[in-house]
Symmetry: C2
Subunit: 220 residues, 2 copies
Amino acid sequence: MITVALPKGALLEESIRLFQQIGLDFSALNDPNNRSLQIVDPTNTARALLVRALDVPVYVEYGQAQMGIVGYDVLREKGPKVADLEDLGFGYCRLSVAVKADSGYQRSLDLPAHARVASKFVHCAREHFHELDLPVEIVSLYGSVELGPITGMSEAIVDLVSTGRTLRENGLVEIERLFESTAHLIANPLSYRLNRGNIAHYCQAIRETLQTQPETAVVS
Amino acid sequence: MITVALPKGALLEESIRLFQQIGLDFSALNDPNNRSLQIVDPTNTARALLVRALDVPVYVEYGQAQMGIVGYDVLREKGPKVADLEDLGFGYCRLSVAVKADSGYQRSLDLPAHARVASKFVHCAREHFHELDLPVEIVSLYGSVELGPITGMSEAIVDLVSTGRTLRENGLVEIERLFESTAHLIANPLSYRLNRGNIAHYCQAIRETLQTQPETAVVS
């Protein structure tokens, strides 16, 4: 039996829909009364694990799940040893640098050396400023990164932006994009190579589903 | 004006109650319609920041908040440079090692060398097994750590336990306690030393409130 790791949160609904299209029904995970983190589809051919987005690549890397769906942002930040098979097109967002609207900074390089940058994406943020050769202090936060500039703790943030509403509500503006992110299909490299649980069949079915669909509109 | 960092989640309600007892009303943060992460109390003498528990010590360390309330577990895991002023008695839980009930392991040292241990408390877990001189592989997870042993990814977990319900529901048993945790009052060391925002007054008021209360029952 193949096991699939699915991410809680924004990508879950589309992920469930995708697997329904290839004949695997994990919709029980969407039931608000569901407390189970592990379910088997009604045809008894596949299992799904419901885990935090950041944990999806961990279960896939260790082989407890042969396949998984996760945002490209998580792959960039964590660099797990998984096979990145397909861009699934949904769940668009971007990792961006943002500053206070009244700060006058128009790009990353306008920031003063040794500025503070708050982020949940510590690795990506560090890499970005390293490439610019601008020394900054990265402040690692777990949530509500927009409070960094508001409280004066940091001059900038590096955070995910989708509609931009949170930025606007907090008087912040996006000044640079590090990369865009969508949901990706990943697999355990060894499982994929050895075709464990007939993983090749499911990947092929997903590819065909993607080809028959109109391309997901990318909001930019 | 003094700024206080308060943690979202389990400790929030008691934290708000404590500050009410010393005359600062942050109860607006409890309003389900509240979207604001920053409020000023009605007397206009203090501000509260509502942040993730793990971020409380960050705001206090950088001095954007002079005081904060956070679980002792977070202080142990992150080791922030803050003054740990008072044990507030509420929010009891413990950081424990747990294994599958049918595994037969009765203490940490029963685990095989190079066992895998899943945890959100990577630093504390590593320290615990290092002190026992037992080499293990710590698997860092962000949520639902109990899935580790269930899926076979890890032999054990190191996780917070309060009532023990989650463990029981997942067929796990607690075999060792690393430490017990309650909410602590913390302060920025420099702010405390220089009595910024009259921080000494508030700390003293909190100490007096604690002394006049019957000691919080510690569930064990």
